[in-house]
């Protein structure tokens, strides 16, 4: 009774009551404007700080170039085609290394995670290799495959392949056994269970792994172009260091960051397009 009379007595209050928004509650959605505002504040703070330090003459210009100088350098290097040339070289190196690593690591990782025998064969190598910094291998790579483009691709390959194989084998291992057993009780042969159930069940995890390791591939770029490169964003940065052309260094860093971001977004879009049944929000 009392609840009925309450509801009747204060309908307005009930209707106008807004959900409480608490911006600091864990795991709680926050309004979109609040999210965008916070992000915008971060971006403007970083750029603002950059402007303040450079235009305010608080830091010497050969240590920290002003934004307009970097922009002008960018415009000049785009106009004369040199930036695009460096980009093309680097993208070529990254994609070749990443592609080679992926086409080997995906099948091997899936098998390693679901076939104990494959795991037993592969694991000793991967568990050893995954802790080795790629930089430690560069002298050997130079000795074995020289200083050409192959060496740069090999750095990217080694930097991503072993991580991919570990992550993908984990994805494959986490596919529930009940899923495979269901397929068997529906009449699937072993081959059908692998091809029609195990494989598709790993796709979302494989795509996530590709996204993560693509990011790591970009982080190896400068290391890859450390030795005897003639072109590439990493090479461009290293060359600029010798002449203290900080504007070019900044331009290189920004370009790598933007290309990394673009490839990440592209893989995310690809995932949502190829795997609509596992779409992310």
């Amino acid at each position: 009774m009392s609840s009925v009379s309450n509801a009747a007595g204060a309908p307005e209050a009930a209707a106008t009551r807004r959900p409480r928004t608490d911006l600091l509650a864990p795991k709680q959605e926050i309004p979109r404007p609040a999210y965008l505002t916070a992000s915008a504040i971060t971006a403007t703070t970083v750029i603002g700080l950059w402007c303040l330090l450079s235009y305010g003459d608080l830091v010497r210009s050969d240590f920290l170039p002003a934004p307009d100088v970097v922009a002008a350098t960018g415009a000049r290097m785009i106009a004369d085609g040199s930036l695009l040339g460096h980009m093309a070289t680097s993208v070529g190196v990254i994609f070749s290394g990443f592609f080679l690593a992926s086409i080997l690591a995906i099948p091997l990782g899936i098998m390693m995670g679901s076939f104990r025998l494959v795991e037993a064969v592969v694991e000793p190598i991967t568990n050893f290799m995954r802790y080795l910094p790629v930089t430690a291998l560069i002298p050997l790579l130079i000795l074995w495959i020289g200083i050409g483009i192959e060496q740069k691709i090999a750095v990217i390959f080694l930097g991503t392949f072993f991580q991919q194989i570990i992550l993908i084998s984990d994805v494959s291992r986490r596919v529930p056994k009940d899923l495979i057993d269901s397929a068997y009780t529906l009449g699937a042969t072993r081959k059908q269970a692998v091809l029609r159930v195990l494989l598709p069940a790993t796709y979302p995890g494989v795509m996530d792994t590709l996204r993560v390791t693509m990011g790591w591939a970009w982080t190896y770029l400068v290391v890859a172009e450390l030795v005897a490169a003639q072109s590439g964003l990493g090479y461009m940065i290293l060359q600029a260091m010798r002449g203290l052309f900080t504007d070019v260094i900044f331009l290189g860093i920004l370009t790598i960051g933007l290309l990394g971001l673009a490839s990440d977004q592209a893989l995310k879009a690809l995932r949502n397009r190829l795997l609509p049944w596992a779409r992310e929000r």
Partner: protein, 264 residues
Amino acid sequence: MAKLLAESVSMVFGDPDAGGITALERISMTVPDGEFRVIVGPSGCGKSTFLRLVAGLDWPSAGRLALDGADIDGPSRERGMVFQSYTLFPWLTVRGNIEFGPKLKGTPAAERRGIVERYVHLTGLRGFEEAYPRQLSGGMMQRVAIARALANDPEILLMDEPFGALDSQTRALMQELLLEVWGEAGKTVLFITHDIDEAIFLGDRVSVMSARPGRIKEEIEVNLPRPRSPDVLTAPEFIDIKRRITALIREEARRAIETAPPAG
């Protein structure tokens, strides 16, 4: 005629001579064609292990299992199974899941369409044919799982606590739906549960299992009229059977707790 026959089936995990665990000990059972048989027992009594043996997913240490007189030798589409966990293929729509089995055996598309139509109708899934599993509730996913198993036209339907993860209201509705589907499809069912009400409500006959090692302790005939409605839950005969099974299970559950080895 015996549809499913189990003769002295035993299952030992590990080395029997060195502390192996006897999960099942000499289970014998005859399930006639078309019967709805329920196995009820305390958790850890090995009832799921037994179902996996019938499915052919595991191999018994001793004894014989046969369907229609032929020894069970690995999994087969004759013995469809519904699991407690959600096992729909998430990359397939409801339609894709239901026609998975028929597709494997090469049923032509036109015929598959008819099969999907029939079981979508039977399990009340009309309108959801093109939905993906992640868009469905737990109860609906299990309905699709039942439809998927039946669409393959198995000789026997094996169900391993299929409603165990559902809330009690959904569970009650699913039990009624299952009885309807069973009446329509006319399949032999072997159903596992630890829920005594569920066992009596569904079953023609209830096999009560003991724990450690798992044995069939008693087989109880459920002579309640069909079709059954939830009213049957309060019928005197129902209460009577429930009292008997409860006593058997309590004894077993207590024994299981007292003899259970330390966890871990």
